[in-house]
Symmetry: C2
Subunit: 280 residues, 2 copies
């Protein structure tokens, strides 16, 4: 059975349209883009396309790939202090000569709709999910909601490499009373955990890491990690053999993008809506 | 084999004495104590006794058990603004009519040597252990260090109820590349995890929860949780039957206090030392 990111995203967009129609003013998303990386640009095109679809205005600040870190920081400083700009994102990845963490943490936490800023990541960990939540992890939770997958008392295994995904998702799941095992690539006898898991979430970026023999017959597989080698995409999970065993699995991780974008636009709407209601 | 909190604490005190002897000025610990709870008072006596032993000055601000929350907050506000007071703790538990979270989070994070303030708890989660760390969790790490128990690639199970213990310890262990499973009292078939664990850390406060048949022959048991019923102490782990199977286990959790106190005094020294070096 396929857990289709696109189906879930479609539902989110439908709800978003309903909500945004009710607003007097259109929300807007501001984006800093460095033209260095094809995937950044592909990503931005997606964001712009779907923003338009749900009537969210979109403004791009472009920099060429030789931009200096100090120039980006200067622009961020301007946006942070510009009252007319409520929030914005910096599209990742950035060129190697720029430190992503420095850039992300120089964005004002109040204007960070990607919810990447360290301070915003902290909030999840102390169970404060009242405001915004990071896009990919909350997108994964939307899948469980959409397919009525109950999380309480479930055994969930998160195989991680990148902090930006595992930390929020693990903490959000624990907040839902799941039993969570956080594995890394060095975990000995990892099948022990994955075979017994109700749900395995992969964010390891290791081609074909999760073979069918490593999971139980009913294990649900959420695959976020993928690797591109010679223009061919490899996923953390062996998608086809797992699918043929009827395990519920998310399709090519390419599509995680679709859901991440949907959640970003939902964050943009939420930020806009809350801003108009309360003082943050 | 007994993992003796007291042995470890002894070593910490010896090191502390060496370090404090090198200082020109004696460090000092300020304490707010509400005289309501025998265990608070027992705890404070321990802290005062050991502080004296390592030449840390100790000043007590006492309140009777009918003290109002606003009076405590007022005192905290005074301490926060008093330059001559570098850090202090509020001894828990507090009387029922006072909200502990409100009190803890009103302490200036910079003066919070207990490292209980939400902001300080966050710091651990983002892997910033450069400054201070919370006393009980870092005390547990000291045990592993003292008995040369390597943590990397180990399977560690944390059975929790109180956030104040599990969140920091789980995150500190993940930072050390352990594979960590966070269970709660609702976890189905918990033996599955505990039997396979290299280390089980109990902070569940459920009498005799961990029986010998639930663990492996080499599983190390760290028992933080205990319950007092009719003046009798019950531990989360069945101490004697586990000890008789030669599993390494910590002795009566009563002694976790000894180590927590040692770590508090170590924090006090560290805060004093860093303060004299750097601007925080």
């Amino acid at each position: 059975m396929i857990l289709d990111w696109k189906e879930v995203a479609k539902k989110i967009y439908e709800e978003l349209k309903k909500d945004i129609l009710k607003l007097e003013k259109k929300p807007k998303l501001w984006v800093i883009l460095v033209w260095n990386n094809p995937s950044s640009i592909r990503y931005i095109n997606q964001k712009q396309k779907y923003a338009k679809e749900v009537w969210i205005d979109f403004e791009l600040f472009s920099f060429d790939e030789n931009v200096l870190e100090k120039d980006l920081l200067e622009k961020i400083n301007i946006l942070n202090n510009d009252e007319s700009i409520s929030w914005y994102i910096v599209q990742l990845p950035l060129p190697r000569h720029i430190d992503e963490k420095t850039i992300i943490n120089s964005i004002s936490p109040k204007k960070d709709v990607d919810w990447f800023h360290t301070i915003n990541q902290w909030k999840i960990v102390i169970w404060d999910e009242s405001w915004l939540t990071p896009c990919t992890p909350s997108g994964i939770l939307e899948i469980f909601k959409y397919y009525n997958i109950d999380l309480i008392w479930k055994n969930i295994v998160v195989v991680w490499r990148s902090n930006i995904v595992w930390k929020p998702i693990a903490n959000m799941l624990i907040n839902k009373q799941s039993t969570v095992t956080i594995c890394n690539s060095k975990t000995k006898n990892i099948e022990f955990f994955t075979k017994n898991a109700d749900i395995v979430i992969l964010a390891l970026w290791k081609p074909n890491f999760l073979t069918l023999d490593k999971i139980g017959d009913n294990t649900i597989v959420i695959d976020v990690g993928f690797t591109v080698i010679d223009w061919k995409i490899y996923w953390d999970a062996c998608f086809w053999e797992i699918l043929q065993n009827w395990n519920p699995i998310t399709p090519v991780p390419w599509w995680v993008w679709v859901l991440t974008v949907a959640m970003l636009l939902k964050n943009t709407y939420k930020a806009f809506f809350y801003n108009s209601q309360i003082e943050i």
